[in-house]
């Protein structure tokens, strides 16, 4: 792993340079799209930790995303600074991840998928119907922008333009990538992959499968929460509709189509899925049809996802992304 990571770094820096240059010749609308893609890249990566790293098919990720968004929204309403509300959002949805993962991970495979789906739906119904807290379906309006970061004298970085926010989200995306990369190359990451590829063998080799599944699930929830906070304070308006189970499915599609077991995969997936409508702007409904068909074709001809299919030398994985069945 080590030396491969060193090799890839060249590629990584090239892409990074491209991404830093991008906002300077993008129009406002596309900057906005880029920010949204960035947020979803973080989300997809965090879901990738669950789906790709430990092979658990989770369908309540939008729920954690929503909890993060609402947490930081409500905290800033009670005059917390954004820079405290952001980590708080991560922690709170991390806690939810722990609470939900503990019972849910007792089930396996499709049972786990549907259990998490149920939790996701319930979380969304709560956001929608608990009017006194969340203001119900009309959502929370008028969120504050992140407070400017003072540099020296009078100058400070403010986040009132999409470009600056683009860089803020970019930094967090890099942080997420960094964490994923480090995790994958470590003892923990090896345990993750062991559990994913052959849970029985892993347990016989002394790996506590449940603990590591829960770890991945919780870390995923934390980053989803952070993404939620970033999203909320960019759009300055949130409503339950954004965090429905449909969103969970979109995220899953991003992860799997991009390549669940890679780090680049979910990011490419997010880019692919969110940029696609741009190419069907003339007839959106036909675009949706094409989108559906593209999903089918990609899954048939690129079973490991777009990025995964570029990695040679692996046998086609059997037994399912959710462990041996």
């Amino acid at each position: 792993m080590k030396e491969t990571s060193r090799k890839t770094s060249g590629v990584f820096w090239a892409i990074l340079a491209l991404l830093i240059l991008l906002p300077f010749f993008l129009s406002k609308a596309y900057l906005h799209l880029a920010v949204i893609i960035g947020v979803h890249a973080i989300l997809a990566l965090s879901l990738g930790m669950v789906v790709g790293f430990v092979g658990q098919l989770s369908l309540c990720h939008a729920g954690f995303y929503g909890i993060g968004a609402y947490t930081s929204a409500l905290l800033t309403f009670s005059h917390w600074p954004f820079w405290l509300a952001l980590p708080a959002a991560g922690i709170i949805s991390g806690l939810f991840g722990l609470l939900i993962g503990l019972p849910a991970l007792k089930t396996r495979g499709i049972y786990f998928a549907i259990t998490t789906l149920s939790f996701g739906v319930i979380m969304n119904i709560m956001l929608n119907n608990w009017v006194s807290l969340t203001n119900g379906p009309d959502g929370l309006s008028g969120l504050a922008l992140p407070d400017p970061i003072p540099l020296w004298a009078k100058t400070s970085i403010s986040f009132n333009t999409p470009r600056n926010y683009y860089f803020l989200v970019g930094v967090f995306l890099l942080f997420t990538i960094f964490v994923c990369r480090r995790l994958l190359d470590s003892r923990v990451g090896r345990a993750f992959r062991g559990v994913r590829d052959n849970e029985v063998l892993a347990e016989c080799l002394g790996i506590r499968a449940l603990r590591y599944k829960l770890t991945a699930f919780t870390i995923g929830a934390i980053f989803a929460g952070l993404a939620g906070s970033l999203y909320a304070h960019y759009l300055r308006y949130i409503c339950p509709r954004d965090f429905s189970f449909a969103e969970s499915f979109d995220l899953l599609v991003m992860v799997v189509v991009g390549g669940a077991q890679t780090i680049l995969g979910p990011i490419v997936g997010a880019l692919f899925i969110l940029a696609l409508p741009k190419f069907f702007g003339f007839e959106p409904v036909y675009g949706r049809v094409a989108f559906g068909i593209i999903l089918v074709v990609v899954m048939i001809y690129m079973p490991r996802g777009i990025v995964g299919s570029f990695q040679k030398g692996f046998p086609s994985p059997k037994g399912g992304a959710h462990g041996p069945s």
């Binding site: 049972y111 189509v257 949706r288 049809v289 559906g292 999903l295 089918v296 079973p303």
Partner: protein, 288 residues
């Protein structure tokens, strides 16, 4: 009075439950063979309803013959989908199958939207408005028919699975595909048969609810979600599980809405599922 209300609520639940059961049966059969969570199943329900609608409203057929033709058409469509979309991914991770199903779900819904627009159509039926009342339960005849037809179809399916040669083959493949193949069972024939049967069931469900509910492109979403809840509740691949799960869910929802809170009606189904899975991680009838 209270007793009457209770009976009425149970009856409501049973009728809805029979629809869930019909959709869930097909879903669970498919899962048993291909281990795919086939979301597209919901759209076969929708297309079945539309097919019936057009046969009735354009050519003035009666509802029964239209329903049978619709079932036939959907059976064909099901086989086609199995051949072009699902068979290629059967050896891939199951999650790929799920994404394929999602893709088909999106594509089919939007195709229907393009062809017929988004507005609701009511499928005319002679039984839609006639009410009958027995021991203080009042239902439309159509609802009774939904119940009756689903029971009948479930029974026929049971005979098919238990008695026929193909039925035995299906059970064998569900048990262990490898062994089945070694025993010389034509896996591909089996799986396309399963798709045909399940799709026909879904179409029947769609045709039967057409007169009660409306027919529109996005009508497939709620039933398919509930059907997933049902088959997980009953235990993946378990036929009795799907049947009882369907009725249990229907009644639970109806009583939940009737006696606790209709605001959280849809939450009950999912909460119930979670509780059951905490006690039995493989559902009520699932094997450990």
């Amino acid at each position: 009075m209270e007793a009457a209300i209770l009976l009425q609520q149970v009856a409501n639940g049973l009728v809805i439950g029979s629809i869930y059961a019909m959709v869930a049966l097909g879903l669970t059969l498919i899962f048993g063979i291909l281990h795919i969570g086939n979301f597209a199943h919901g759209q076969l329900y929708m297309l079945g309803a539309f097919a019936t609608y057009w046969l009735v409203s354009l050519w003035g057929w009666n509802i029964w013959s239209s329903m049978f033709v619709a079932m036939g058409l959907m059976a064909l469509l099901g086989m086609v989908l199995e051949r072009i979309a699902f068979r290629p991914v059967r050896s891939a991770p199951h999650i790929n199958g799920l994404i394929v199903a999602l893709g088909l779900f999106i594509a089919l819904e939007n195709i229907a939207f393009i062809l017929w627009g988004g507005d609701e159509r009511t499928l005319p039926s002679p039984y839609a408005t006639k009410m009958i009342t027995l021991l203080s339960i009042s239902l439309t005849i159509q609802r009774l028919l939904v119940f009756a037809v689903s029971i009948l179809l479930i029974f026929l399916l049971y005979l098919f699975i238990q008695k026929t040669k193909m039925g035995k083959a299906i059970r064998a493949v569900a048990q262990d595909p490898e062994v089945a193949r070694l025993m010389g069972i034509p896996i591909h024939r089996v799986s396309s048969t399963v798709f045909a049967v399940s799709s026909a069931l879904a179409a029947a469900a769609g045709a039967m609810v057409g007169p009660i509910f409306c027919v529109f492109p996005s009508m497939g979403l709620i039933p398919i979600l509930k059907a997933f809840v049902v088959i997980v509740l009953g235990g993946m691949g378990s036929i009795p599980g799907a049947i009882f799960g369907g009725f249990i869910l229907g009644v639970a929802e109806s009583l939940g809405a009737g006696y606790i809170s209709s605001e959280y009606k849809d939450a009950f189904a999912f909460a119930a599922l979670i509780l059951v899975l905490m006690v039995r991680p493989t559902g009520l009838f699932g094997k450990e």
